[in-house]
Subunit: 197 residues, 2 copies
Amino acid sequence: MSKQLDFFYFIGSTYTYLAVMRAEELARQAGVSLNWRPFSVRTLMREQENIPFSSKPLKLKYMWRDVERRAERHGLDWRDVPKYPIDAEERANRVATLAAMEGWCPQFTRAAYRTWFLEGQDPGEQAALAALLAELGKDPQSVIAAADETTVREQYLAETDTARQLGLFGSPTFVCGSELFWGDDRLEDALAWCLAH
Amino acid sequence: MSKQLDFFYFIGSTYTYLAVMRAEELARQAGVSLNWRPFSVRTLMREQENIPFSSKPLKLKYMWRDVERRAERHGLDWRDVPKYPIDAEERANRVATLAAMEGWCPQFTRAAYRTWFLEGQDPGEQAALAALLAELGKDPQSVIAAADETTVREQYLAETDTARQLGLFGSPTFVCGSELFWGDDRLEDALAWCLAH
């Protein structure tokens, strides 16, 4: 059985763009199976009073410049500083939860980040979300309706609670056993750990 | 003339251990000249209300585990989670400032981090500081006295103000022109940027 690495993330986290675009290929090269697990990092960060940017303009400015430089370093597309924050109702994250239940989570998440970072739209808004679902060959109306229902909402809450129990405090976080690796810049460390243990 | 990279740091920052032990050799390999610039990140973080760990036990616990893993990854020594915070009077940082003025800053800073991380002592306390200065062949009494005088205090304040003007918010920060690279894990990015620009 191949090694497993859990990839906990939230659509709305900035550095997560880099991980979403890089993780699958790096995991494939390492021979590691990646489990995409959307969760509400926003809920956990509010609980923990962990507010990294909103009152810290220097860190915010630095963060965007660093994401831009890191995107360039990894050969990823970059357009401009996108709108922030997004997905007020966590609809895109609930669609990602549904997609994880149905097996199309990586494609959806990458498309959501393209919508956000490269097209400058909020993938949590109905029109943008419908357009990206249609491009993926999904029926937007039925997917969005399903993401509003109890089954998906409960699964999203359950994944968030799993993250809470694991001690997560940010997105992305890679989890191998009880080892946490926080940040896109720890993806390589996480894969190396996963292979060695 | 060789490329220059400014290395702003504070003895008391945790991840700075990794940078202090790695930076000189990596800069040498890259052919980049490294300027060691101690400054009071504590002052700037208080001004910015940027308190990353004191009320965030999950982040604190993760940080130490991550520093330990990263030390292992880089082949650096590790003993145990050291006491934290240290250098209440910023005496070790003022000695580092004097050392920077006199040309023995890298050796002193590495010794201070060994005292802290590997011997479990606070290099800001007089006895530990005197012992490490003696090991470096310095006269502890005269060095500690000089670090208490106006000239060094003003230089430390001036370097802190330079860091403030550059928009720094953490330690270590590598600065090349107007580009900031925050964190030991951006050292390689900083050197690459420095060589390319």
